[in-house]
Amino acid sequence: VSTVVGLCVALPLFFAAVVLGVRRVALVRDLLTVGTMAALTGLAAALLVEVERNGTVVLEVGGWSPELGIVLVADLFAALILLVASATILVVELFAIGQRHTPAGADPAVVSPILLVLAGGVSLAILTGDLFTLFVAFELILVSSYVLLTHQGRADQVRSGMTYVVINLFASTLFLFGVAIIYTATGTVNMALLAERVPELPAATQVGIGLWFLVVFGTKAAVFPVFSWLPDSYPTAPTTITAVFAGLLTKIGVYVMIRFFTLMELDQLGPLLLVIAGFTMIVGVAGALAQDDVKRILSFHVVSQIGYMIMGLGLFTVAGVAGAVLFLVHQIPVKTVMFLAGGLIEDDQGTSALKKVGGLATSKPVIAVLFALPALSLAGLPPFSGFVAKLALVDAGVASGAYVIVAVSLIGSILTLLSMTKIWLGAFWGEVTPSSVPASSRRSIAIMQTAAGVAVAGTIAVAVVAGPLWEMSERSATELLERTPYIAEVLEP
């Protein structure tokens, strides 16, 4: 079974190289890309079933013992997020096939192989049990995101790409320093060994390590006050790229934060995390309210929603972390599909500026439905997945007596609804505006709408299976907070 864990990383990276080789042969390239992502999704599903039944799977890469070599660890949390992440990339790749013949489409010869590298990086970041390998995985993800963001070479992409690259590169350098600091203090970079040794360090050193990695992972996750690179860069990329970024990149940052802070038992940082969470929610949504372009509004919502996951982590209770896990599972597909809907608007109207778009509810009812369902879910209205996830977080907050953050999160929800209403009023109601671009081919539109529809169905499915999902989130949260299952599985197989 442990071979499957290795394959989840190796398969996309290997086929990225193959696809790069055949990138000019359209049919082979597309079949390979979609096939690889489908296979990865299948592997992740199999892994989740296996982990659910028989517990954590550990792969010692190259047969080296955990003290010397690198381990890949698939516990329930990792398997769950891996499945959601790979399924999301698969849907986006399908959408990209529909979008490529439209003016906004990205060049498939570049996007297909790089998307597979990104998928490999995401798998590695989720599965790795080694802090330095995590750094390498982050670099894989970031380098592919740099290329995806700027490959069309338009002036606005280069401009925002520069800010994006410089800030993320700075965070990566800080990560390296963090590895040096933690290695000096403990003499290992294996996460299970670190989990044993970090809690034995002097309290001040623990807090220092915690704060350092809070800055590193916080920048990747775009929390307040280090989020400003995100709303600047995301909207300039082609829609499919933005959808992948919004669905995955920041969420991987959050995933790693949850993993690191629970494993290193850094719950003394809880109150600080709650303050950061509150500011992230409110500042993000306030930024969204000020904007007047669909893609920019959605980008600010990416920031705002990160706050909710940090809130669950900051509580450091089983209910809180379980809420954060469930929120993560709900956010990845919802955020992706919202950007896909934004892409459909842009494809239909030639722009996503609210002033220039109107009356889509009459002229394009399909787009309206594809936007409305995830928008209501994002705002946290029943019976959608957002409601279930937010309810879990609010419940956990009340149980811990953290009333301030609960109040802030509810205000954030109302403002989110307000901002969704703004998009709805601007783009879907009102006078029907003539499109400034010729309509895309029927086939393109059909593929794009089908892909977005599948993603919407996925977000609804999250709400339908909320019961079992909550049970799984609670189990992974218990494992995360107890810490011993992870340590024992890695060190004493």
């Binding site: 390296l176 320093f177 600047d232």
Partner: protein
Amino acid sequence: VSVAMIVAVAGLVATGTFLVTSRSLSRIVLGFGLLGHAAVVALLASGGRAGSPPIVDGEPAPDMVDPLPQALSLTAIVISFGLTLFLLALSRRQQVLTGDDLVEDDVEDRRIATTREQQQRAYDETQELEALRESSEDPA
């Protein structure tokens, strides 16, 4: 850890950070070069005291240094080399597009901020006008 290492890291980080905060991308590239060096030196320092090379010839030497930080450093150097090339390519592209390699502000953000200011100014002006009109109408 020797004082020389600490001073080297501190100096490299200080200079590097100063360069990175600059607007010109070519300076930022140089800054990242220095910061990358600083990180590598810090990684090497994390391995403990200096000693003989960690090459096992039959059996480990008694005063061998820790080989792991050196392996990590090598990986980090390769990654930062690739990223430096990417940054240079990006600044070249910016130069082709605009004639310089300066990092610019978020245009859209500036636009929204200025429209608010302009709206406010327009509103103030109409208020003043009305106040003037009222005061001129009063004596009549």
